[in-house]
Symmetry: C2
């Protein structure tokens, strides 16, 4: 496993009322593996979680704690996912929550727990408890330690912020493999100091997640620990429509940051399927393309192999279209139209793929009026290396 | 691209009434790229084809020609798939059929055409026609030239035979990538001299295909040219139940031969999901496991990473099971049971995976009574190499 070392200062603005913590407690060998987000007071909050049936021990706990739309803190352990760890795993998660609760004087049921890493092993709970009992946690205004503490195979921290009037939204995300979000994704924490009512906060998050995290796929594998949590410390009153737009935009940027940090990836592919019968069909067709190992390896090889795009389109279950009307474009160049009666722009497209890291592919079905964009990446030697080495 | 050179004699028995041909006409640079199977008289026949909407020009032609359950010959071109080639592509296929029809004095509509290879380019039709007009085709009893002529990225020819009473069934298959058959698969030709009535032949083939080709996946990509054709020259009367069993067995061996020749694969994984609510759910869960890039890379790395198996099981849409009851076995060793309360046999399983090429994985859902086996392979550097190099 390797890691690009990028210097990244605290460039993103932190919303009022939140502090952070990140340290090494001993789950990983050396790197930070324990993180906290702590709000000054109880926040209105919402979260979406993985749909994977084999979900982590944190997921049902988190779901219960956020049910009343209130949270005050988030605790994350990284290196071990605490998935499929049975009664012991569940108890360990409560022991962490209790230690954090004692330290910070925050009620256990206002803390959202997350764990990410290898599936199967138990957390080194004694190490964690001993650390938390001995140490005095000093919270910081700066998110950097926290952002590092939640990483696994990620190559860099991924943080974005946006301001809406007086309010700020800050998002921190981790994830670079086992990523095809279904309803929720990876670990992402979105914080704001805007005022949001309890009944508004979940729909706002769901709207943003559907347009962002739910449109990306790195390897078609849905993680067992995916969580996106949204906490509002409620200091500033801002226009709700503007806030929703800002939240959508921020979630899109965070989702894109995940794809950009995809395991072994060298290119990002934005696939837009347009004029489909329904948004759902457009999304399925896009996912079929970005998840095809043959499309992904061709992209890695800088090969304008539109035949594989056609194959992936054709195998999409339930997709209705007429072969004779379909058009496929790389960037602005048509590579398939009029049922391939004329060869189009192969040289320009080969150059386009070679010269760009972001590849835009458009499939026009000319069948309906609905459109959807999904985002994926290539499949490289490095992906195979990372995932055949990353051991249990 | 590389190719293991294996000597393979004509060891398989050929059913009475069939002859073969294979040569180089100029689609590929050097290797054989044009093949024929010719029966002495009209056969009863059936075929199943790809469900990919973006299907090859041969598919609708073949479907029409086999509709009356009669065929006398099969013509295969390899190197170019003749997919998404429009009106010109369709015409080229008819020009090949006409040339073959003239040469062999067989009616065009009794010939099944297939093409396999790169999607997009047109066949070099002038080369093919010139060759067929000049050459006198000498048919052989031996299938070897034909079996070579239909290959693309395959590393070896794949031929099996079986005898049922006096009758013989012979199968020839090609395929090693873009393989997740849906109803039909790759190119496979199954010949027999057993007597089969017209109305029996399709159900017999469908039964065998569902238990064989439809249970394998190399890369989750469904090809645009998949065809399995079954021709009976009707010389010998044999017990139908025995014939069906023989056909099932032969198709299973051919399907397994395809997985064994999978692009870049080093290991074969047999996944049995048992005690599921339905066969369909068991199959979906099995496919989710063998198609997971993370499961496949772990297998390549000899890593007993059952957590990824759990993840793939959990993400299967519609699969109903209770986490606390699931058991996962490698070979005879349990690696997950009783919600992972006790660690089981990790060392033995690591050794088992390292020492075997065929890996047997069993998931017992303890939920229903239905069972299904699917067959897949690992994901290696070589797969990425082959598919990022194999160019348009």
């Amino acid at each position: 496993m390797y890691r690009k070392v990028l210097f990244m200062g605290n460039y993103e603005k932190v919303p009022k009322g939140f502090k952070f913590y990140g340290t090494h407690v001993g789950i990983k060998k050396k790197r930070k593996d324990f993180g906290l987000i702590v709000a000054d007071a109880i926040c209105h909050a919402a979260a979406v979680f993985t749909k994977n049936t084999f979900c982590g021990e944190c997921i049902p706990i988190g779901r219960a704690h956020v049910e009343n739309a209130e949270l005050q803190a988030v605790v994350v352990t990284s290196g071990i996912a605490n998935v499929a760890t049975g009664q012991t795993g569940r108890e360990n998660e409560y022991r962490i929550l209790d230690s954090v609760s004692n330290q910070l004087q925050i009620e256990t049921n206002n803390i959202l727990p997350s764990s990410t890493g290898v599936i199967g092993p138990q957390l080194p709970i004694d190490l964690i408890e001993t650390f938390l009992d001995a140490e005095t946690i000093e919270l910081k205004e700066n998110y950097e330690d926290f952002a590092h503490a939640i990483l696994t195979t990620d190559q860099q921290i991924k943080v974005r912020s946006i301001t809406i009037g007086e309010a700020t939204i800050l998002g921190v995300v981790k994830g670079s493999g086992m990523i095809e979000p279904n309803m929720a994704t990876m670990l992402a924490y979105v914080l704001t100091d805007a005022k949001i009512e309890k009944e508004e906060i979940y729909p706002m998050l769901k709207t943003a997640v559907d347009q962002s995290f739910n449109t990306i796929s790195i390897d078609s594998d849905t993680s067992t620990s995916d969580t996106v949590a949204f906490l509002a410390s409620r200091h500033y009153d801002v226009d709700k429509a503007a806030l929703q737009m800002g939240l959508n935009q921020l979630c899109k940027e965070l989702a894109l940051a995940v794809v950009k940090d995809a395991e072994g990836a060298t290119k990002t592919m934005f696939v837009t399927v347009k004029n489909a019968e329904s948004k759902e069909q457009a999304k399925l067709a896009g996912k079929s393309i970005i998840n095809s190992p043959l499309v992904k390896t061709a992209l890695f090889g800088n090969d304008p192999n539109w035949g594989r795009i056609a194959m992936a389109l054709g195998k999409t279950e339930g997709l209705v279209f007429d072969l004779n009307k379909v058009e496929i474009y790389y960037g602005d160049y048509a590579i398939f139209s009029n049922n391939n009666e004329e060869k189009q722009h192969i040289d320009q497209i080969a150059a386009y793929i070679k010269q760009h890291e972001d590849i835009y592919l458009t499939v026009d079905l000319h069948h309906g009026t609905e459109c959807f964009e999904v985002i994926g990446c290539d499949l490289s030697y490095e992906y195979v290396k990372i995932n055949s080495d990353y051991s249990t």
